[in-house]
């Protein structure tokens, strides 16, 4: 039976990407869209690329009849999300795409986001949304917290390696290259075409990026001890795509074998043959992850690279995948579209 879907915060990029994906989803149907500042407008005016669809107009959250909704995606800004979700019906299934429920520890949340959490009781209830690693909890969850897009990319490489004990936990460097849509539709000087195209620079350098909170939480839990990786992203002059280069201490063949073994049954994660390195071009617009491993000339060192589309697998695609599980649907439904190349 077709499930009724609400998208809260449909005027941003992750909201629009949800609409794009659900537009051809056979078992999900959008029955409500909200956007506070653009309430009353038709979606075709906010996002003309969705013009061919028959969609409800943007409404205010308070005007949505949640009794008729099977699942709500919250694609609201960070901090806004926690206040909104606190007031939604307690029995509504929710996939949150913000950063608000990713960290389970209120102190960690306050450290990385600079203020206390507004709904700590719900925070504890949330399941971390990295599907391939929390599948069973997600199936049973009421509230799933979508991961950071950088955090997802890094974890796809590192979780199996930490679990298998094949890398030095004190020598993990993640040099990340990130497309600009990850920054959202915010009006900032450094996101202008004139400032961003035709060059690159690092940002949140030296261990200050908020997604480190997720890495710390997840990796330390896996390892049973504190793990503190080094991670700096670089802003790329393209819209979609993350490439994470992991510089590792470990045996490259062993690393490759662990990843291949871990992901061979996963529908969305392709581990390339040893020595082959992936490109963001090959996953754009899709829910796929490509991953490769190569040995370094320096013995005992390896490089692993993972790529995904930050808006899709890194955010809205992951959200739909989780929603499929929560709604009792086949996990891959609506997500098998091929990447767009060139």
């Amino acid at each position: 039976m077709t499930k009724s879907i609400a998208i809260l915060g449909a005027s941003g990029y992750t909201g629009a990407e949800l609409v794009r994906l659900i537009a051809t989803h056979p078992d999900q149907r959008i029955t409500a869209l909200t956007g506070e500042r653009k309430a009353g407008l038709p979606m075709a005016q906010v996002f003309p690329f969705l013009r061919h669809l028959d969609l409800p107009d943007l409404a205010r959250i308070e005007d949505v009849d949640f009794a008729k909704v099977d699942l709500a995606f919250c694609a609201l800004p960070h901090a806004t999300s926690q206040a909104v979700i606190r007031d939604l019906p307690r029995d509504l299934k929710i996939v949150d795409l913000s950063a608000d429920f990713r960290l389970r520890d209120p102190a960690a949340y306050e450290k990385w986001y600079g203020k206390p959490h507004a709904a700590p009781e719900i925070q504890r209830e949330a399941v971390y949304g990295l599907t391939e690693f929390y599948r069973e909890q997600i199936r049973a969850a009421r509230l799933v917290a979508g991961t950071g897009c950088n955090a997802a990319t890094g974890q796809y490489i590192l979780r199996p390696l930490i679990e298998a004990g094949v890398i030095d936990l004190d020598r993990i460097i993640l040099d990340l290259k990130c497309g600009v849509s990850g920054a959202g539709r915010a009006l900032k000087e450094n996101l202008l075409h004139a400032e961003l195209s035709e060059g690159t620079h690092a940002y949140s350098a030296g261990g200050t990026h908020r997604h480190l909170g997720e890495f710390d939480q997840e990796f330390s839990a896996l390892a049973g001890r504190d793990v503190r990786i080094q991670f700096t992203p670089h802003l790329m002059p393209f819209n979609r795509g993350i490439l994470a280069t992991a510089w590792l201490d470990g045996d490259a063949r062993e690393i490759h074998a662990v990843l291949q073994d871990r992901y061979c049954a996963e529908s969305f994660i392709c581990v390339l043959p040893f020595g082959t390195i992936p490109s963001t071009h090959d996953v754009r617009g899709s829910n796929f992850v490509h991953m490769g491993v190569v040995g370094d000339r320096v013995p005992g060192r390896a490089m692993a690279v993972a790529v995904l589309d930050n808006l899709c697998k890194g955010s809205s695609g992951q959200a739909v995948q989780n929603a499929n599980l929560m709604l009792g649907l086949e996990e891959t439904t609506g997500l098998m579209g091929a990447p767009l190349f060139p």
Copy 2:
């Protein structure tokens, strides 16, 4: 019942785009792929973005068992296509994506392509593949000739206006902006990133572009007299998308009304409200056409703009749409995917 599909020339962009589209098509299944120079290779090696699919390896054309094929797409280079198709089984349904069968008149072919046609008898049999205008002939056709991508874009604007007699036939200017994937995967200096990005220039200027052969054939037939439009394309520093700006003598409101009326029942063609102008961003990766009309400050002059994705609606998407008709399937099947934005 699922139809068996062969793609001849699958190592180019239009071939890959066919695979992308058919990958999620419920009623078509790829059973043969050919690529002369890359025969023997798996598709995942030629196009890693298709790695998640279970596809036949690239073969030579002579190794394909056409008895088991319901329809073949020919995505071969211009001039190669006519020689290959001449030798294919006479009862095989074919959608050709090359320029070889677009012109019905052998003299016109020779004029625009510089040498006599190698298969003039088949040339006469081919149906011109602009779906919305040749739908019934395509349904019954054995061989459909896909249109030029620029030619399709211009015709979507101009055909209804010529038929309705609302524009001056001697005053039609088409200033076209064309993404680079239309030039294919050819190794040419001017297609290098370093030469093409961050700027633009015109090409085939002054009425020398080959797609004029199609415009002349189609518009003259519609008008019952010779029509010679002015048309120059400009090469754009992006990969997918054509924007055609038509500068017209005629009443803008009347032009808009004719287009709206003509396309209101079409699934893939959206005529925007009067005064609204479309963007290539809003159709990328999709089979949709957006079209807009605005009046000029100079009385009696109008501007009409159409956008489409050259690789999809302008080529491979059109081909799948035509194949659906030829195979007795619902025309829009597999083609309703939303554009990719941003």
Copy 3:
């Protein structure tokens, strides 16, 4: 003797481009820079690409000692400029880069800019800054009004043709392609990399772009009658460069001869051999204009194309060229740097 230069409004793109050009100018030296919102900051913080230069910090306009300034460039926002210039010393030489003094007729100004001019008496005094056509007036001027960048590009093609009477004045179409830096550093959604890259669209369509005010003023004066051209720009996914495609009624050879004749003695304007079409790639970062003419297959019709860098020749380079004249310097000083390619 080195001239002392002030730049008012140095925190925008045209201001920064002035600094870039004057940095290697042998006869001009920057002694004051202003930026209201960023007053007090060093230029290196606002524009790190200027870090190697020894520049004054950004100040407020009221803190500049104009007694020591030989010439001031005003790179302030439209409408702000007129109020500021009204209050500057009456004997200060000024090159204004805003739109405020381009139109001589107060009624025309009000029509295109939506409100009355704040300094109509100065408006009448200003000389229009298209150097190659107002050279002697500029040499003697106190206040020069820099042209619009689109307006300059179009005029380079059209002025000589209108003067020579070789084109139909009622049949002038200017289809313009414009890089995004022309829109400045303003925070607008459509200027974000994610919205603008990888596609194109028209804007200010149908005869609504403000630079039409300049075309009307200049062309009508030249022709001795009202001339109303058709003009629509398209926003391009690159930062620098304008390509103007003029669709003309006239003899292409004659048009080419007129342009070649008119510009053969000009240092910055290259008319290409007949049939050769220019590219924006070939003038980026420079003060040069390339221009080409090609005949259409339709007899009596021609296409002329001009390219320039909107920030340099279209704005700040033109301003320095005019300042050279006003200061009694050789016109080309500091402006002969070659374009940046690739």
Copy 4:
């Protein structure tokens, strides 16, 4: 007195960049240009962006009268250069931009370039062209070997740190981001706009990039022991610019102090304030290097980032700087042009 300059191999990007730089050089004048396949053509036809210059036509090398040449730049392909230079007059000053004379050890050359050197006697004579570190030898040299562009970027960060002994020599990781013009004008599928724009990937991964030969030679000599860094470049969708991210074991403040101290007297190298990270946008088209250091949250770890323009400071700008020294000119002459932004 103006020096007479020949550029051998002027039809590639580094050759064209030499022409661009020398075009406004007060003390160097181009008297010969060669290009084997394009001999006989005017430069304006090969590179229309140089159209405004009065340049000799492209000739064959054997047609150049070297008696009248003060210095020749060789911008020939790798392997070609050694054969050509072997046959040039023994008293001609030469700056070679190829890889042929960068490695002093014939065995190292053969290892990295796959065949024996054709002119080992000259190989030993060549001075390595990293100006800031070989200044006095360059001044006296007959033949200077321009460095690899990646190799230059990495060495600017690492040489002072190795010399000062402030980093762990067994823990040096260089994650490099490289613009596409570094690959030259070669016709390769992966350099096409359609394949390269809108995404990124690593190449020559795991310690296989040829510039490692230079790192090994230089760093081992500095350290007095074998140093083997880890280095992988990533191909960027922009034309000019290299950003090198060095992941280091060492004290960030100490690292910053060493760099600041080493470069404070250098004209082209700006070390940014501690904690500030540079952008390739800020050096494009110039001979400047920007460098920044930031501490990691993991104690004892640091990140240093350097940016430069691969075609200018990484190749042709460096070559002009070296030529200035060899010709007895002021080192910075002709090279102080500001970067192009945006």
